[in-house]
Amino acid sequence: MTASPGLWTLAWRRLRADRVAMGALAVVCLFLLSVVLSATGLVAADWEDEVAVNYAPPTFVGPDPTLAALAQPQAPAPPNAFDPLAGDLAALQAQLARAGHAAHAAKRTTLPFGADKWGHDVVRKTVKGGQTSIVVGLVAAFVAVALGTLFGALSGFYGGHVDDFFNWFYSVFTAIPAILMILTVAAVLQTRGVLTIVLILGLTGWTGPYRLIRAEYIKHKAREYVLAADAIGASGWRKMFVHIFPNVSHVALVQMSILVVGFIKAEVILSFLGFGVPVGVVSWGSMLNEAQNELVLGKWWQLTAAATAMALLVTAFSLFADALRDALDPKLK
């Protein structure tokens, strides 16, 4: 007799049969791979090098003749005996040369997908920006789901006054619209940083998972296996997280995949407004912020790159999240 397939095996089979879901999963995996590669410094580590002329157009558009003069290596300034910084500059240039940067290298007039204001390669910048945006989305969604699960488990499992307390807490948080909550917390936490955005999004986003997880715990706590665990003397904590949690973890997973999409979008908006990533860190939001002014000058490539990358990832992630929900919870539509 063979063991009957479990929830995850069945879900994986259902997912495998869904071609759209597998396509979406492949796209998501590609993005995650690019995050891993850029985080380890294997790609896009040198995105801050000014490899091209300012606003170099994409190769398929062709070089911009008005920028040709900029591409020539700059002639070094004539020696000036009265320059008080001459000694310091020489030392700095020697240091740069040792690090392998040619001081006056010829700059390229075109790049595969153009360059930004400083001559950074837009493709590498998009990969690097994606790293920030995706990591923020994933970590914040994890924090939100972890909080929601903890509160939901306590609330659903213990009921009574504990439940009343968390329900009150929930109604307080849902009375304030999410975006206003995010902006309020952003105003209070004066520091700008990746950790700050993760905290803002994670601490304000737990309400959705909380409601669903709480309902699951209420349903499960009266089941026979929990009563059996109770009979052998398992502690409340053990019943909640060792016995019940594996049976409701699919809800948490689906919630997390839905939140990731929302948080990536939210991070982009926050960074765009300047409440997100600090200066010097690139994200898709800060790219869109620069791109807004570039568009008026007719430099559309940075906007297109960041917008397309984000739209592709978010489409794939939402399709996958929908399919995951269908596969894990076939009762739902």
Binding site: W168, F169, S171, V172, F173, T174, A175, I176, P177, A178, I179, L180, M181, L183, T184, V185, A186, A187, V188, L189, Q190, V261, K265, V268, I269, F272, L273, G274, F275, W284, G285, L288, A291, Q292, L295, V296, L303, A307, M310, A311, L312, L313, V314, T315, S318, L319, K333
Partner: protein
């Protein structure tokens, strides 16, 4: 009915108290001391002490909480730190422009969303339905920033069909001239998620027995859709629209910012940028109160739509 409303209002008190405490804790303990911010760069200990005394920051926490509650009840949050304008005046004057954009936007979004959802739900499973759903998913995944940047550049800056930004003195001028493009963009952004949601509401109804009965007695399909199904699908739609109205007030902040509309959303962004705490506190507390009141209104509207619903 009156008893029901009174009981619901009574039940709001603990939640409202929670909101007040949450905002108080956020601004008084999580946030830094605002007197350093207000005193400016050349602050000496004396000036900071004076500001602390003026804001009541040197008083014990329960006195400060009392001041905050009094501010909420009397609608008097003092003056905005950045501009010195009274906060109540800020909220009163910014509400009009926000509503000029939001009311037409909500009405259009809801009617178009319902019409499309009914149309799509009745050809469910067909190629049209699937194409529309894919288009919605793709449409939703493009950032609202991209919609605004591209439409503002393309339609207003390049083609000159609309003013790039601005706001006038007269209501009709604002509505017909300055608010048109923001409303169109808002519609383009919100229609996809609305349509997806309304479609699922309608789909819950089209499989019901009463639809089969209506068909069996020979009603035209148009009557089944627009009378029978719509009335039943209206309940979740009302909840959704009503519950989202106060959030929309803030949610349109990007439109207001890009198009220079002096509304509540833009004011919140400015206040966050300037660390203008009184404005943020006031907006947060009143929007939370509005959210609760609108939820109650939604429940009252249920009964008007569906006589089976008993408010008890």
């Amino acid at each position: 009915m009156l008893a029901y409303i009174l009981r619901r209002l009574w039940q709001m008190l603990p939640t409202m108290a929670g909101v007040v405490v949450l905002v108080f804790v956020l601004f008084n303990w999580v946030g830094g001391d605002p007197s350093y911010l207000l005193a400016g760069k050349m602050a000496d200990a004396h000036a900071i002490a004076a500001i602390r005394a003026q804001l009541g920051l040197d008083a014990p926490w329960y006195v400060q909480l009392g001041i905050f509650v009094k501010q909420i009840v009397t609608f008097d949050f003092g003056n905005a730190w950045a501009t010195g304008e009274p906060v109540s005046h800020i909220i009163a004057t910014r509400l009009g422009p926000s509503l000029t954009v939001l009311v037409p936007l909500t009405v259009l979004e809801t009617t178009i969303g319902i019409a499309l959802a009914l149309a799509v739900a009745f050809v469910r499973g067909s190629l049209t339905d699937r194409l529309v759903m894919v288009a919605c998913t793709v449409g939703m995944s493009i950032s609202i920033l991209v919609y605004i940047i591209v439409f503002q550049y393309g339609l207003a800056y390049r083609l000159g069909l609309f003013p790039v930004q601005g706001w006038g003195e007269h209501f009709t001028e604002n509505l017909l001239r300055y608010a048109t493009l923001p409303i169109l963009i808002g519609l383009a952004v919100s229609l996809a998620p609305t349509l997806r949601l309304f479609r699922s509401f309608v789909l819950d109804e089209v499989g019901q027995d009463y639809v089969r009965t209506a068909r069996a007695k020979g009603l035209p399909e148009r009557r089944i859709v627009w009378v029978h199904v719509l009335r039943n699908a209206a309940i979740p739609i009302i909840t959704y629209v009503m519950a989202n109205l106060p959030a929309l007030l803030i949610g349109a902040f990007l439109l207001e910012r890009f198009f220079g509309i002096p509304g509540i959303g833009r004011e919140v962004i400015l206040a966050v940028e300037r660390s203008d705490f009184p404005v943020i506190k006031a907006v947060t507390v009143y929007v939370a109160a509005a959210t609760m009141v609108f939820n109650l209104l939604a429940d009252l509207m249920y009964q008007a739509v569906d006589p089976r619903v008993q408010l008890a």
